[in-house]
């Protein structure tokens, strides 16, 4: 089996999700990596270090600058010929682009796999992770997105060849207008070893930040949030952890003032150690917490920060 893995990046840095998706891809077959972007040679160089891969294809051209789905899908379609599988990490880009490729190839995509059983059989969560589905695809080409937290990143240190590819793909359907990115000096939520998430109970953005930021700073932790906290604008959208937000699997996850709805739990139940602080002793979050502290967060969080 030959696999083409679409790299996740921002034109300057290769996202760690790619090294994780590469693990899944290597369990399926021989892997080439596609870096599509603009002025993204440094990304191709990082991709070339991923252990086990064959080569890096570099498509450096303006239509790919912002990972717009239409041109990147057309490019993947153009390159798909020799490949038996096309894979991407289940990032917002991967989720946006790959189903488009699948439909153009007339195959069904397999979304967010968490296990490769064999090159045609995979496991994926459904119903917010309340069930695991094992399924087989007999499609001529497998189109797959990979949940990064379910796979270890491959090591780096290799020196794969980089091949420039030229493509005539253009985009007459959509255009990039702008972006409002959240401060990238924060610890990255998707890959953090420690995550502290806050919920509706904080009551305001001011309290959310006043209480959680110093604790996060002491722990070197990333900040997460429940949907309710994001809806109330205590935290930006990219902090949402859950079924339809980010899935995280840190060593330590601290849920503060979060009830533990299944949609939230879906995004964090694979953390190694879970701590929950909640004033309601019957809060569902306590059913999955390794350490449960029944307490008022407005007292417990400052105390925790001061004791560290």
């Amino acid at each position: 089996m030959k696999v083409l893995l679409l790299a996740e990046h921002d034109n300057s840095v290769l996202n760690e999700a790619t090294a994780r998706a590469a693990s899944a891809a290597l369990a399926i077959g021989e892997v080439d990596v596609l870096v599509a972007g603009e002025n993204c040679a440094s990304v191709a160089q990082s991709a070339a270090t991923l252990s086990g891969i064959g080569k890096v294809l570099l498509a450096d051209s303006p239509p790919f600058a912002n990972q717009m789905a239409e041109p990147v899908a057309d490019l993947l379609l153009e390159l798909s010929g020799p490949y038996d599988a096309i894979i991407a990490a289940a990032t917002t880009n991967g989720k946006n682009i790959l189903p488009r490729v699948a439909a153009l190839l007339d195959v069904m995509q397999i979304s967010e796999i968490v296990e490769v059983v064999s090159p045609d059989t995979f496991v994926r969560p459904v119903y917010a992770g309340n069930a695991l589905q094992k399924l087989r695809s007999d499609e001529a080409k497998k189109i797959i997105t990979v949940r990064p937290t379910a796979f270890e990143p491959v090591a780096s240190g290799a020196d794969a060849p980089i091949e420039d590819i030229s493509s005539n793909v253009s985009n007459d359907k959509s255009s990039f207008v702008g972006e409002a990115l959240t401060d990238d000096s924060r610890v990255d939520l998707a890959t953090a070893k420690t995550v502290i998430s806050g919920g509706r109970a904080f009551g305001s953005k001011e309290k959310f930040e006043e209480l959680l930021f110093p604790l996060a700073q002491k722990l070197g932790a990333a900040i997460g949030a429940s949907r309710a906290a994001v809806d109330a604008e205590f935290a930006p959208n990219d902090c949402q952890v859950g079924q339809t937000g980010k899935v995280v699997a840190p060593d330590l996850y601290i849920a503060v003032g979060i009830s533990g709805a299944i949609q939230h739990v879906a995004g964090m139940k694979d953390a190694r150690t879970i701590v929950a602080i909640n004033s309601d002793e019957d809060a569902p979050i306590f059913q999955i917490a390794d350490y449960a502290l029944v307490a008022d967060l407005f007292e417990a969080v400052p105390e925790l920060t001061s004791k560290l």
Partner: protein, 249 residues
């Protein structure tokens, strides 16, 4: 301009699902079914476009069992003008959904399809992107804000690093994320009025679409359960255990 809104009938988001013991799937007997939450949001946005005079007609469509009429009636009560039910098995795969929707688009010629980003049962997050590909249209997925102009739609998207704004030429597909709006409830008078709105029933056959499932589900099982943890009585005990027991500090 016409807006098409595809709606899926799914197990209600508040239900704790049970799996059948033989691994054949989710037990849906006597389980509360509802409109997929993201589709409620898509519908609300379409109705708001109509109320703002930017859309002339909102057509709701659902693919699935006979009972799908229930969510379509709800959609009509929430402001859709008419509805189409395409009778099919439950759990038709997204590629088939996209093909059926493409056939409906060919008949109805909407300029905008507003749909959910993800069905909360299969968690596939595919149908909108696939439909856009089949139609050769542009796509604005995971929308938290839209602005309709004459020949394009500006879409603010929830992406991993924050928010991205793009412009998609019409006709286009937009998929709704959670913060696009807060959907209204159907009021009793509107539920009564909705009974008189047209609801057509068709089949994939009549639309010229062959439904062929591509993936074979081998089994559906429970995820591993976490061992129950312990209650700590103080912040000091918590810190101590995190340091000395869990080794994470």
């Amino acid at each position: 301009m016409k807006v098409l809104v595809p709606l899926k009938r799914v197990v209600d988001f508040n239900v704790n699902i049970r799996l059948k013991a033989d691994g054949s799937g989710v037990d849906k007997t006597n389980v509360k079914m509802s409109m997929n939450p993201f589709d409620e949001i898509a519908l609300e946005e379409a109705v708001r476009l109509k109320e703002a005079g930017k859309a002339d007609e909102v057509i709701a469509v659902s693919i699935g069992v006979e009972k799908g009429q229930d969510i379509l009636r709800t959609a009509l009560a929430c402001g859709a003008d008419r509805a189409i039910l395409v009778i099919a098995e439950e759990d038709v795969e997204p590629l088939n959904i996209a093909k059926i929707l493409a056939a409906i688009v060919a008949e109805e010629k909407p300029e905008l399809v507003l749909m959910g980003k993800q069905a909360i049962d299969n968690d596939c997050n595919q149908s909108g992107q696939m439909l856009a590909a089949l139609l050769g249209w542009g796509q604005g997925t995971f929308a938290s804000k839209i602005e309709l102009a004459d020949d394009a739609i500006q879409v603010t998207r929830e992406v991993d690093a924050g928010l991205q704004t793009i412009k998609v030429n019409l006709p286009a597909i937009v998929t709704a994320d959670l913060r696009l709006n807060t959907p209204r409830y159907a009021t009793l008078p509107n539920i009564m009025k909705a009974k008189k709105k047209p609801l057509d029933i068709t089949t994939p056959d009549k639309l010229g679409v062959e439904v062929r499932q591509r993936l074979t589900i081998l089994e559906t099982v429970e995820p591993p359960v976490r061992q129950p943890g312990i209650r700590v009585t103080s912040v000091a005990e918590l810190v101590d255990r995190l340091k000395n027991e869990a080794g994470v500090l």
